[in-house]
């Protein structure tokens, strides 16, 4: 083998090594040589649980970034998220730590938020929700178990008694039944008698069950009630229609209630009527004088008397027109 071949093989081998290192790097870094710069968001939690640097951030199950850093900030834990530039997170979206498996792998789930909400800028803080982790669920289960045990114990002592002073419900019921055995058997007998009667078709209930006529009557009554209800419905519909018409200003009442012009006219008429009545009260005008001046009343009375006499004379004078009589009487 000459020197050139040896050098070529070594070169090829070295390049192969570099290529394989590159492939491994690409595979394990998710196909990215340089991390997607993206933008940062901060998610504050009471506890980050099992969340660690490099864990995924997913939106609707799709990976959109990763946890870049975790840190303690005062009285809470913060996760700095690096989100891909292609994904915009809405300001009303919220983040929560979700368990991916039972062996302690977690990821951060981000909700979609609403379309109309503005996008969160770089460095903003995302709203977070606390989810119970397995330990807290276990603790709660333990507490629940204890409560259940206590409740069952209470129920048991209520039913069977605590063995000291209190007698249990079962014992009390037993005593009650023993003491009222006679009454209960009587009540049972009565009940049996009633059901027998009902079976035979005796009494109102029995007839209702066994008599087809009674049933027909009941059905026709119900039909009538239905009919009445339907009529009432029609009546209400008509009334509603009238009310609607009135509201829309149709018809006299409508005009009266809703037409501004008609209202104004009525006001004017009332005002006129008032001025007329005031004039009458003051004795102004013919009608006022007629009401307030006694001489006019007396003249009218004498005219009426004359008219009366003239009418009496009608039988004697033959067919004279009433106008002629009145005229004669007056003048």
């Amino acid at each position: 083998m000459n020197n050139f071949q040896q050098t070529a093989r070594v070169g090829l081998f070295f390049i192969l090594g570099l290529a394989l290192t590159w492939v491994t790097f690409e595979t394990l870094r998710g196909g990215k040589v340089f991390k997607d710069q993206g933008y940062n968001l901060i998610a504050g939690f009471e506890s980050l649980k099992e969340l660690k640097e490099g864990d995924e951030v997913r939106m609707a199950g799709v990976k959109i970034g990763e946890v870049e850093k975790t840190r303690l900030a005062g009285r809470r834990a913060e996760a700095v998220l690096r989100i891909s530039h292609q994904v915009k997170i809405k300001s009303d979206a919220s983040a929560m730590i979700v368990m991916a498996g039972l062996i302690g792998t977690n990821y951060l789930s981000v909700t979609l938020g609403t379309e109309a909400a503005p996008d969160l800028p770089d460095g903003a803080e995302i709203t977070t929700k606390t989810t119970p982790d397995l330990n807290s669920v276990m603790t709660q289960m333990g507490e629940l178990g204890k409560k259940l045990e206590t409740a069952i114990g209470d129920l048991s002592s209520a039913l069977s008694g605590d063995g000291k002073n209190e007698t249990g419900i079962i014992k009390k019921v037993d005593q009650l039944i023993t003491e009222n055995r006679e009454n209960i058997s009587k009540a049972t007998a009565n009940l049996q008698e009633i059901t027998t009667k009902v079976n035979k078709g005796e009494g109102t209930l029995g007839r209702l069950i066994s008599d087809p006529k009674m049933y027909d009557e009941l059905v026709s009554t119900i039909a009538e009630i239905k009919n009445g209800a339907s009529e009432a419905k029609t009546f209400i519909a008509n009334a509603q229609k009238i009310v609607d018409q009135v509201k829309s200003g149709q018809g006299a009442i409508g005009a009266l209630v809703f037409d501004q012009k008609a209202g104004d006219d009525i006001k004017v008429s009332i005002a006129n009527l008032r001025s007329v009545s005031e004039k009458i009260a003051r004795g102004e005008g013919s009608l006022g004088k007629l009401l307030s001046d006694e001489s006019l009343f007396r003249d009218a009375q004498s005219i009426m008397k004359k008219a009366d006499r003239a009418l009496d004379g009608l039988d004697d004078t033959g067919p004279i027109t009433a106008v002629g009589v009145v005229y004669g009487g007056l003048f």
């Binding site: 093989r9 081998f13 090594g17 394990l28």
Partner: protein, 250 residues
């Protein structure tokens, strides 16, 4: 006491050899031919045995993991187990052991025979430092080639595990699921960790073998003894260094 003295003497001379070699590093371009030759021997000719061995180590690892894990339903994590084991531990250690057995023994045998047949003395007489001509190119070649061998060992081992996981009845895990598990629990950091370890082991093995070869004294029988000593020392060094390097890189 004498043995302890020998150990300390060997340790000190190895460290000195390293520093002397680093001192001759600027002369590397002038010895490019020698460097390529050593690269060829250390890297290219070692590749087949590394590939075969790592393939079967990956396969056995998957087989054993599948057998143990099927009892508690954790078969889907075989990928991550094989991946992490190969990248962090078995790949670098196995490459270093093969290097000690195949290349290290050859280096010691060559340098020991040169020493025994006074070729080294001749070089010194000609004012050619043996370290510059014989040790430095080998060290440089090891530094360049051992990580390449290690990454190939890793990948071949992973594929061996994937094939066994697919075609073994009681495992039956498809390659996509296997590699998904591998990717899920692995980072490039783990692979880089393994490559650094391989680098340290390779450097240590070549250095120890060169040192033992150059310090051979006596007749031809000593050549064989030196080779045995070099391989044994290299293996012990690999495992001792493995612990400390792993601890340091954690």
């Amino acid at each position: 006491m004498r043995q302890l003295n020998n150990i300390l003497e060997g340790f000190g001379s190895t460290i000195l050899l390293l520093f002397r070699s680093i001192g001759y590093l600027p002369s590397l371009p002038r010895q490019f031919g020698r460097f390529v030759e050593q690269c060829y021997l250390i890297g290219y000719t070692t590749l087949p045995i590394v590939a075969i061995l790592s393939f079967f180590i990956g396969s056995v690892l998957a087989l054993q993991a599948g057998y143990s894990m099927q009892n508690f339903g954790a078969k889907q994590f075989i990928g991550s187990l094989v991946g992490l084991s190969m990248a962090r531990e078995l790949g670098p250690v196995m490459v270093a052991i093969l290097l000690a057995g195949r290349v290290g023994s050859a280096i010691t045998a060559e340098l020991a025979s040169m020493k025994v047949y006074q070729e080294i003395d001749a070089l010194v007489t000609m004012n050619i430092p043996p370290v510059r001509m014989l040790v430095m190119p080998r060290l440089a070649a090891a530094v360049v080639m051992v990580p390449v061998l290690a990454i190939i060992a890793n990948l071949v081992g992973w594929f061996g595990g994937a094939i066994v996981s697919k075609y073994t009845n009681f495992i039956s895990i498809d390659p996509p699921a296997y590699f998904a598990a591998l990717r899920r629990f692995m980072e490039f950091k783990d692979v880089a960790n393994g490559l650094i370890k391989a680098e340290v082991f390779g450097l240590g093995v070549v250095l120890v073998c060169c040192n033992i070869g150059l310090n051979t004294r006596g007749g031809p029988r000593e050549i064989g003894a030196s080779v045995t000593r070099a391989v044994v020392t290299s293996l012990i060094l690999i495992l001792v260094l493995d612990y400390f390097v792993t601890k340091a890189l954690m």
